[in-house]
Symmetry: C2
Amino acid sequence: MKADSDEMQRIPAVEKGGTDFGELPDLLGYELRRAQLAVFKHFMATVAQEDITPGLYGTIVLIDRNSGMSQSDLARALTLDRSTMVAVIDQLERRGLVQRRKDAADRRRHALHLTDRGRSFLDRVRRRVDEHEGAITRELSDEDKAQLFALLRKVQRGVNG
Amino acid sequence: MKADSDEMQRIPAVEKGGTDFGELPDLLGYELRRAQLAVFKHFMATVAQEDITPGLYGTIVLIDRNSGMSQSDLARALTLDRSTMVAVIDQLERRGLVQRRKDAADRRRHALHLTDRGRSFLDRVRRRVDEHEGAITRELSDEDKAQLFALLRKVQRGVNG
DNA sequence: TATTGTTATACTCTATAACTATA
DNA sequence: TATAGTTATAGAGTATAACAATA
């Protein structure tokens, strides 16, 4: 099951030769996709100088909070295959943000740690991400925000549960 | 901070060796992503017999509503490159759902139309999609739904506007 | 010149299968 | 046997660049 692609979008009132091709139905999936895409784009613009993606950011946050966790732990936490983590950690290590350390107790494992540089990178990026978060929710009151989070979780409960 | 607070997003409770690696911060992007992923998965499961994706469904809906539109029109409506549409329409034509017709007025254009089979396919799938929509919103009251759509659009306005 | 459809190409993200080294 | 990390490979979805036909 893949193809979690970025193709589901509502029609941005496309005017071409005066023609408007209308919108897709009022489907929750469409609206979620659109919102998510817009937020993703904004994230990327806000942290452009740092060369990082939401996924990479999440990875670093997780390693910071769970120093010593293994790549497989991380893969499970992110619902990714462990083979997928390899290139991710490769990249972060190449950039000097993360370090793989042989786990003494279980030598199959790579204990993951942020480097000093990784920590200061995280601090810096976190400020940007906070800025981003403030910007994308600027139209929302505190109550709106709470409502939105609650509703999104309700949807997830409905879909899964 | 954290614990199983209702307001924190949980990483798929990864218990491995009794270890829980915690959660990512309460970021709207994460929550949107998770909800969207869950909904996408549910869509795919619901229409599994029909071999269609949300993107393909949207394409067919659009062609149905705008018979005769060109591939470029469609690309603009979906915010995709027109080169990307080629393979999409190829597939739908191969499956006998869509037809390319030379536009008499402008012979560069391919006027797109659903075939009879395409229309009955759409009818069939639409029933499934409605079913899907009902299922994923089953935890939501009508008011909740209206709220959620409104909030998602508010976010988009905040991000773009 | 500009636009439509097309091809060739490439990039990102992800998965599966199979290998190795451990356990 | 089972697990951790790795590699090779594949597939989906997308974009860019360039070209022929047409406007």
